[in-house]
Amino acid sequence: MNQIWGSVEQYNTVVWHWPIAVYLFLAGLSAGAIISAIVVKWMKGNDVSPWDGIIKAGAILAPVTIGAGLCLLIFDLTRPLMFWKLLIHYNFGSVMTIGVLALFAYMPVSILFLLGVFKKELAVDGPFKFLAPIADLALNYGKALEAITLVLAVGVGAYTGFLLSAMNSYPLLNTPVLPALFLASGVSAGISANLVVGLLFFTHATKDANVSYLHGLDVKVIFAELFFIFILFVGMMYQGGATAHAGAAALSTGGLSTLLWVGVIGFGLLLPIGLNFALPHGVKHSHAFVIFNALIVLVGVLALRYYMLYAGQTFVG
């Protein structure tokens, strides 16, 4: 199809750009960080202070990364000064409204978790003494709040996938497995970020047993991600027609397919698995290796968000 008269610039199918990819990354990371912190807290029985460095890392990372992501999201609107209308006008059929409401609930509970974990630093010895009653509340109702937080975090992690999969204009995004893939990779990013922050900033508080536990969990999540990516493309092939064509193009065309094979699958997923099996026990349990491994996983997850957003909008069949 050729135009006869007039610019075709407005017909570019790429509508959302890199800030959205970074937001999707940060939202997934935030959810994953608090999920893995709560999982460590529950599974390892760390019910009272002193908290493990990983729990501290998750408590900081969850509100900070979601806050940064939301700022990015607001400034990416074409009418950023109107963003408050999102908070008072709802469309319950829109994934974006559901996301806004989930974040409404998620932000306060993630801040409560932070206050509970850092009660001593913030409300006892720190400048926020007036928040002490709230920190006590967070600790007294810890289990219940953590259960609610866990559910909301899963919601936030999955919603970033539903946000894209709701659009039937883009065959690569309009797949039922996308929310599961984004949730899994968000958990992987959260685990990795917790390991990096825990080992670098709370070195003495971070127990080696917990590091091994989370690192082992991460490898399992990475296998799940690989399987989800496989399901996504095989599903597109089975649908045939324009969808199969878009899937084949997304796997084989241009810099984006290189990003998928090298950045997402090679560097972000296969390399961590490979190193985990190939390296001797002593090396792979060293802090330096765990941090290095976590950093490549984080780069891989960011690459996945970037690839899905751009390839999804580029290969429309």
């Binding site: 006869i4 509508v15 609107l77 109107m82 999102l86 883009y170």
Partner: protein, 190 residues
């Protein structure tokens, strides 16, 4: 009774002259860089080797099941009582979810308001005065027919009863109210 406005684009009558495109720009004061409506051309080679042209009207198709309205978080994107898909600028935050979700690429960001804009069937101007949309009025070959699907006697219902029509991307279940009379040669690529 509420109206249900729709349009027919006859591929056999269209000559791709862009008079509709220009009339739309003039009537609706569309800024230089953007378009509510363009007519695109596709050269076809038929099985016997002869050549022909297919014309495509690139504009909003005013779906009944509107992906753009479903995704809009503030209901800025909405369908009015006459079945016309519109944007309420006062509610729009500029997330561009509607622009991305539209399978017909009907929307663009207005360079001044920064809100998505699109074909409105001249709802705010000519239609409110009881006139047909500018593109329909100006078409030199009468390739466009506009009218109310709820009125059995309307011109559009006459065309829809007498001609073969199809709609773009019907598989998506969007139920567009933009009907196309296909070229009577060759196949149909919906």
């Amino acid at each position: 009774m509420a109206k249900k406005y729709a349009m027919v684009h006859d591929n056999n009558l269209c000559i791709g002259c862009q008079a509709c495109n220009v009339a739309c720009r003039s009537e609706n004061k569309i800024p230089d860089s953007v378009y509510r409506l363009q007519v695109w051309v596709k050269q076809e080679e038929y099985p016997n080797g002869s050549l022909g042209y297919e014309y495509h009207r690139q504009s909003c198709v005013h779906c009944e099941n509107t992906p753009c309205v479903s995704v809009c978080p503030t209901k800025a994107s909405h369908v009015n009582e006459d079945g016309i898909v519109l944007v309420d600028n006062d509610l729009c935050v500029g997330c561009l979810y509607c622009v991305a979700a539209c399978p017909y690429q009907a929307r663009y960001v207005h360079p001044v308001t920064k809100a998505p804009d699109k074909c409105t069937f001249c709802h705010e101007s000519r239609l409110s005065r009881g006139e047909e949309p500018a593109c329909v009025t100006v078409c030199p070959t009468e390739a466009l027919t506009f009218g109310d699907l709820n009125d059995p006697k309307s011109k559009i219902n006459k065309v829809l009863s007498e001609r073969v029509t199809y709609r773009q991307k019907e598989r998506l279940g969007t139920k567009p109210k933009m009907y196309i009379v296909p070229n009577h040669k060759g196949g149909i690529n919906s």
